[in-house]
C-alpha cells in the first residue's frame, strides 16, 4: 500500500519497461515468483497452510466445527427425543480475510473485503455437511493476494475435508492477469498493481473450467482482449494446479 506514493515518472518507467516485456524484478511477463508452501502449522486448526509468493505471505486456517445437530438431542415438548435430520443440511464454506497486519486504514479494509468476496465466490460450489470456517491472515503484502490466498486455502481445505467430498479433484485456484498497456502480466507485485488499469481474476478448477471470473480496476477492455486475458488466466491456473500438486506431494 506504499505503492500509492509512486511518482508519475516512476509509474511511467514501470509502464514502459513492461511494454518491452521487461519487469522490474527481471521476470518474464507470465512468470510467477518463487513460492513456498508449508502445511500443518497450527495445532488447533483442522488444517492450516502458509504460502509465500515473493513478499506476499498468507496464513490460512481451516476449522471444521462440530455438527451442531449432534448436541441437540434433547427432550422435545412432547417428551420424545428430537433427532435433528442433519443429512440434508449442507453448509457453504465461510471465508474471513484479515489484513490487520498491514494497518487498520480504509485501504487495508477494502483489500480484505475484496479478497473475501472473491474467495467466497471461489468456493461457492463447495458444500460441506458440517460448517467449515476458512480464516485467512495476511502477514505480508507485495501484490497478488488472491492467487496466494487461493493456493493456501485450497491446500488447507484439501487436507481438512474428507476425500469423498472432494471427489478426487483439486480445489479451484485463482489466477490474476493484469493488463498494462498492451502487455499481460501475471503475479504482479505492488508497484505493478498500481500501474495496471484493468485486471481479470479467474478461478479455475483442475479440469480447466471456470468457477469464478471478474474484471476489476478502473480500466476498460475490448471483448477480444478480455477473451485473450481469460485464456491466459486459465492456462496459468492450470500451471499453478500442477505446481501446487507437486509442492503438496513433496511436503507430505
Amino acid at each position: 500500500l506504499l505503492a500509492q506514493l509512486l511518482s508519475e515518472p516512476e509509474r511511467q518507467y514501470i509502464f514502459d519497461s513492461v511494454q518491452d516485456a521487461v519487469r522490474i524484478d527481471g521476470r518474464q511477463c507470465l512468470a510467477y515468483r518463487q513460492a513456498a508452501l508449508r502445511l500443518d502449522l497450527l495445532c488447533y486448526a483442522t488444517a492450516s497452510a502458509q504460502v509465500s509468493l515473493g513478499e506476499t505471505d498468507v496464513l490460512v486456517s481451516v476449522r471444521e466445527e462440530d455438527n451442531p445437530g449432534a448436541t441437540a438431542q434433547q427432550q422435545g415438548s412432547t417428551g420424545s427425543v428430537a433427532v435433528q435430520q442433519q443429512q440434508a443440511v449442507s453448509h457453504p464454506v465461510s471465508v474471513w480475510v484479515d489484513c490487520s497486519c498491514l494497518g487498520s486504514g480504509p485501504e487495508q479494509q477494502q483489500l480484505a473485503d475484496e479478497a473475501q468476496a472473491h474467495l467466497s465466490s471461489l468456493y461457492r460450489c463447495l458444500r460441506t455437511p458440517t460448517p467449515v470456517f476458512v480464516d485467512i491472515l495476511l502477514l505480508g503484502y507485495d501484490g497478488n493476494l488472491l492467487d496466494a490466498a487461493s493456493i493456501a486455502a485450497s491446500a488447507a481445505l484439501m487436507r481438512a475435508l474428507p476425500a469423498s467430498l472432494l471427489s478426487a479433484q483439486a480445489l479451484p485456484l485463482f489466477a490474476t492477469v493484469h493488463r498494462i498497456g498492451s502487455q499481460q502480466i501475471v503475479d504482479a507485485n505492488q508497484l505493478e498493481e498500481s500501474c495496471s488499469m484493468a485486471r481479470v481474476t479467474v478461478g479455475v478448477d483442475s479440469n480447466g473450467r471456470l468457477v469464478a471470473c471478474q474484471t476489476c480496476g478502473e480500466g476498460s477492455l475490448q471483448f477480444e482482449s478480455m477473451t485473450e486475458i481469460i485464456e491466459t488466466g486459465v492456462r496459468k491456473a492450470m500451471m499453478l494446479h500442477d505446481s501446487v500438486a507437486k509442492l503438496v506431494a513433496r511436503v507430505l
Binding site: 500500500l1 500509492q4 506514493l5 508519475e8 486504514g105 480504509p106 485501504e107 477494502q110 473485503d113 475484496e114 473475501q116 468476496a117 467466497s120 465466490s121 461457492r124 460450489c125 479451484p172 481479470v200 479467474v202 478448477d205 479440469n207 480447466g208 473450467r209 471456470l210 468457477v211 469464478a212 471470473c213 471478474q214 474484471t215 476489476c216 480496476g217 478502473e218 480500466g219 476498460s220 477492455l221 475490448q222 471483448f223 478480455m226 477473451t227 481469460i230 485464456e231 486459465v234
Partner: protein, 282 residues
C-alpha cells in the same frame, strides 16, 4: 395562490403551500403522475420477451443528480453528491497527487427489498460491498475524473426491490444519476445480466420478474457502446463452466446492453427540452 381553496378548521396554515397543484380547478394530484410506470411485470405472460426499462430522474431533492430505474419489478434509486471535499488519509496527507477525483460508491438493499432473503440487515454485507466495488470499477473508466482534481464524488445506490438483475439495473441507474449530475463522461455505461440454470445449455436474459432461481450461473456485463469496450464483467457460477461458454455469454449480453444504451440516450435527449427551452439538439 388559490382562492378556490375552502378554509376549513382542520387545515393548518402551512397546508396552503401544498395546494399549488390546483390549477384552474383541476386537481393535478388526482391525475396520474407524468412518471407513471407501465403495466407491472406480474400482469400475465403476454408481455414482450424483452422488458422495457423505465427511467426517471431528479427524484431526490437535495442532491446534485439522481436517477431511478425500473426494470420489470426491480427498482433502483441512485443519488450523486459532489464534487465535495476529498477523504483525507495518511497517504493523501503525505502529498500523493490528487489529480483525479475519488469516486466512492455506496450500495445498499433496502430492508424490504429482497423477495427471497426476507428482511435485509441495515449494515452492508459482503454481497453489497462487492456490488459497490463492482459499480466503482465499472463507472470509473467512463467518468472524466481528471476534470475534477482534489475532490470526491459520492454515489449512493439504494435497491428498493430486487426481483433479479439488480446489479445490472444499478449500473444503469448510477449512469443515469451521474449524467443528471452533469458530470462529464466518455460514454454511457449500460449493463445486462444473462443466467443459465445448472445443467441447461442456453443463456437467457435476466429480467426483473423474480424468476431467477438461486441455483443458476449468471454473467453480468457492463458495456460502453460508443467506445465498444467492456467496463466490467462478473461471473457467478453455480457449476464449473468452460471458458468459451463464459465468453459466449458475454457476447450474448452485448445486444441488451446496446438496446439499453439507446433507450437511456433517447430518454436523456427527451429530457433536454424541459430543462432548457432554448436549447436545440444538433
Amino acid at each position: 395562490r388559490n382562492s378556490q381553496l375552502p378554509i376549513s378548521d382542520h387545515v393548518m396554515p402551512l397546508d396552503r403551500y401544498r395546494n399549488t397543484a390546483l390549477v384552474d380547478g383541476i386537481d393535478v394530484r388526482a391525475l396520474p403522475l407524468a412518471g407513471d410506470s407501465p403495466a407491472p411485470a406480474s400482469q400475465g405472460k403476454q408481455q414482450q420477451q424483452q422488458q422495457q426499462h423505465w427511467f426517471q430522474r431528479r427524484l431526490v431533492q437535495d442532491t446534485v443528480g439522481s436517477g431511478y430505474v425500473e426494470f420489470g419489478d426491480t427498482k433502483v434509486l441512485c443519488s450523486v453528491h459532489g464534487p465535495i471535499e476529498p477523504k483525507r488519509s495518511v497517504l493523501t496527507d503525505a502529498g500523493a497527487e490528487q489529480s483525479r477525483a475519488q469516486l466512492q460508491v455506496y450500495y445498499k438493499l433496502a430492508p424490504f427489498a429482497s423477495h427471497q432473503a426476507g428482511r435485509v440487515s441495515y449494515l452492508p454485507d459482503e454481497t453489497e460491498r462487492r456490488a459497490a466495488s463492482f459499480l466503482q470499477d465499472t463507472l470509473a473508466p467512463s467518468l472524466r475524473l481528471d476534470r475534477l482534481p482534489k475532490s470526491r464524488i459520492e454515489l449512493h445506490c439504494l435497491v428498493l426491490e430486487d426481483a433479479g438483475c439488480c446489479l445490472a439495473t444499478a449500473v444503469n441507474c448510477a449512469c443515469l444519476a451521474l449524467v443528471d449530475a452533469g458530470l462529464e463522461m466518455y460514454d454511457l455505461v449500460t449493463a445486462a445480466t444473462v443466467c443459465r440454470p445448472v445443467g441447461a445449455t442456453d443463456w437467457q436474459l435476466e429480467v426483473g420478474d423474480g424468476s431467477n432461481s438461486c441455483g443458476s450461473s449468471s454473467v453480468t456485463l457492463a458495456y460502453m457502446r460508443s467506445l465498444r469496450q467492456v467496463a466490467g464483467m462478473l461471473v457467478e457460477a453455480a457449476e464449473p463452466l468452460q471458458p468459451r461458454v463464459v465468453s459466449a455469454a458475454c457476447r450474448i449480453c452485448e445486444d441488451p446492453c446496446k438496446m439499453t444504451h439507446s433507450s437511456l440516450r433517447q430518454f436523456l435527449l427527451d429530457c433536454l427540452p424541459a430543462d432548457d427551452r432554448t436549447a436545440k439538439i444538433a
